[in-house]
């Protein structure tokens, strides 16, 4: 039997995107992002601020999916208006989803097809334009495939590196796409022109598998390492504290 699941590898990779963030608001959107952010807070980033998803900042770290946990301790109030104030001040790192994403990290959550008469209306722009131009942004893709990792996104909601560069140094100085985590691997933009680079593959995934499932050419330099494996302590926290009901495994299957 394997020591850990693919979902658990993803949780570690997501937690790692928040390493070094310190005392900022983290907004993880989705089950595994929530699990990963809470794991980071419980282990190496204790100063992160996390909300209850409504309007409270909760000092305690709660399990996902309503499982039994500690009595929540509210430390502050954060209605939507304060979320905007916080994000404009830059003290935030968001992890959003992406229906489409391209090699420079342009993200689409608005619609598929022609904006004027879309084939499929999705969420809308939501906060993606403002998030990406104001503070660090990462993306979570639970279904890595050529329909998501595309040559060109239909609509740019979240701003990627080529668009940011075109704005000039001053206007783009707060723009940072930290990382993309998918069910297959971890991607960053640490290449000379900020093209998406394959940073690591999760245990059991080959580089070829990632390449085949990506609709554009990834930067691949040298031997691609494997995503850091969870420690025993981390596995215990994931299984017994944060996600006893296995919500992560529902999002990403082995």
């Amino acid at each position: 039997m394997k020591r850990f699941t693919r979902a658990e590898a993803c949780a570690i990779a997501i937690a790692e995107t928040f390493r070094g963030d310190g005392e900022i608001l983290v907004s993880p959107i989705g089950n595994l992002p929530a699990i990963g952010a809470r794991l980071a807070k419980l282990t190496f980033e204790p100063d992160l601020l996390l909300t209850d998803g409504v309007a409270s900042i909760v000092a305690t770290v709660q399990p996902v999916g309503g499982a039994e946990g500690p009595e929540p301790v509210v430390e502050s109030y954060l209605p939507y208006r304060s979320v905007f104030d916080c994000l404009w001040s830059g003290r935030r790192h968001v992890m959003m989803g992406a229906t489409q994403i391209d090699r420079f990290g342009n993200q689409n959550i608005a619609c598929i097809g022609d904006y004027r008469k879309p084939k499929a209306q999705l969420l809308g722009m939501r906060g993606a334009p403002g998030n990406t131009i104001n503070h660090p942004t990462s993306y979570w893709v639970p279904n890595h495939g050529t329909k998501v990792f595309v040559e060109k996104v239909d609509v740019v909601s979240g701003v990627g590196y080529d668009r940011a560069a075109a704005l000039g140094e001053r206007a783009s100085r707060f723009h940072e796409i930290r990382r993309v985590v998918s069910n297959l691997g971890v991607f960053d933009f640490d290449s000379p022109d900020h093209r998406m680079r394959l940073a690591s593959v999760h245990a059991g995934v080959t580089v070829d598998e990632v390449v085949e499932n990506t609709g554009f050419e990834l930067v691949i330099d040298g031997d691609v390492p494997e995503t850091r494996a969870p420690t025993d302590e981390e596995l215990t926290i994931l299984r017994e504290v944060l996600d006893p009901n296995g919500f992560g495994a529902r999002e990403v299957k082995d």
Binding site: R81, L87, W88, Y115, R116, L122, G124, M125, G127
Partner: protein, 282 residues
């Protein structure tokens, strides 16, 4: 001053082609009794400005809408508003899709009687590509930085829903988030507030702390007592979202027959009282 009025009196003031701002957020504390009164009216060609939920979906499905200005349209527990999706996918409405923060800035500019407010949000994104009416503005100071000049979202009318209010138009929210309801009122020429219950002014502070009194009477022209007026959106702590009803509503987007039935049963009624009766009779 006694500003009490009714949904019917409010809607009789509205005209086709008006720009109407609707408070709340997604499927949360929406002034649905006023939306339902618009559904019963002859109004059409409306421009809606909203952090959208079923207010947008219902009015689009009923053919009342020419244009929607929004950052998102969602039912929260059902992430995509199905009736709004139909309206978009058949291009039956004009869409002005903004970043959520740009949207707030537009309301705030209108509230301050400014033509625009500068923001970084939108730069580099397709919000600018698909909304060529949006212009950039250069900082007049040494930095010379360029920003989006988010134009004021001026409203003819604002509709909001509060938990409590007094007869004079002081409003009180008792839930976790006030959203941006004050900005809708400040951005509008005429402002109407429904509420779960009208209480004597002296009782407001027995309902919630001083900080919950965020709507004062300079911001409101008419008050409507509408118990259950936010149904089927949530209005905590008075009630949660009616998820069963919302599911039923959402399902009607896929089936014209089901929509017809839903409309006959819940919308083509004489009054809000009849609606509340139909909901209880389920």
């Amino acid at each position: 001053m006694d500003k009490r009025t009714t949904e019917a009196a409010v809607v009789s003031e509205l005209r086709s082609g008006m720009t109407i701002g609707i408070g709340g957020w997604g499927s949360r504390r929406k002034p649905m009794s006023l939306v339902r009164e618009i559904l019963r009216s002859e109004l059409e060609n409306l421009t809606l400005v909203s952090y959208g939920g079923p207010d947008i979906g219902l009015l689009c499905a009923a053919g009342k809408v020419a244009k929607v200005i929004y950052g998102f349209v969602s039912l929260d527990s059902i992430p995509l508003e199905p009736h709004f999706r139909v309206a978009r996918q058949t291009a039956s409405i004009e869409a002005v899709e903004l970043d959520e923060g740009m949207f707030q800035w537009g309301l705030y500019a209108a509230a301050n009687r400014l033509p625009f407010l500068p923001t970084r949000a939108g730069l580099g994104s397709d919000v600018l590509e698909y909304n060529p009416q949006l212009k950039l503005v250069k900082s007049p100071y040494e930095d010379g930085e360029e920003f989006v000049a988010m134009p004021a979202l001026e409203l003819d009318v604002a509709l909001i829903h509060m938990n409590r209010a007094d007869e004079g138009g002081n409003g009180q929210f008792l839930g976790p988030d006030f959203f941006f309801d004050d900005l809708f009122c400040l951005a509008a020429k005429r402002r109407f507030m429904s509420c779960e219950r009208i209480v004597p002014t002296r009782d407001l502070l027995s309902q919630g702390s001083l900080h919950t009194l965020k709507i004062n009477r300079t911001m409101v022209d008419g008050v409507i007592e509408a118990p259950g007026g936010a149904h089927f959106t949530e209005c905590p702590p008075d009630y949660g979202r009616d998820e069963v009803f919302q599911k039923e509503y959402a399902a009607t987007a896929k089936d014209p027959e089901a929509w017809k039935e839903f409309k006959a049963r819940y919308l083509d009624l004489a009054s809000e009282a009849e609606y509340q009766k139909a909901v209880k009779a389920r």
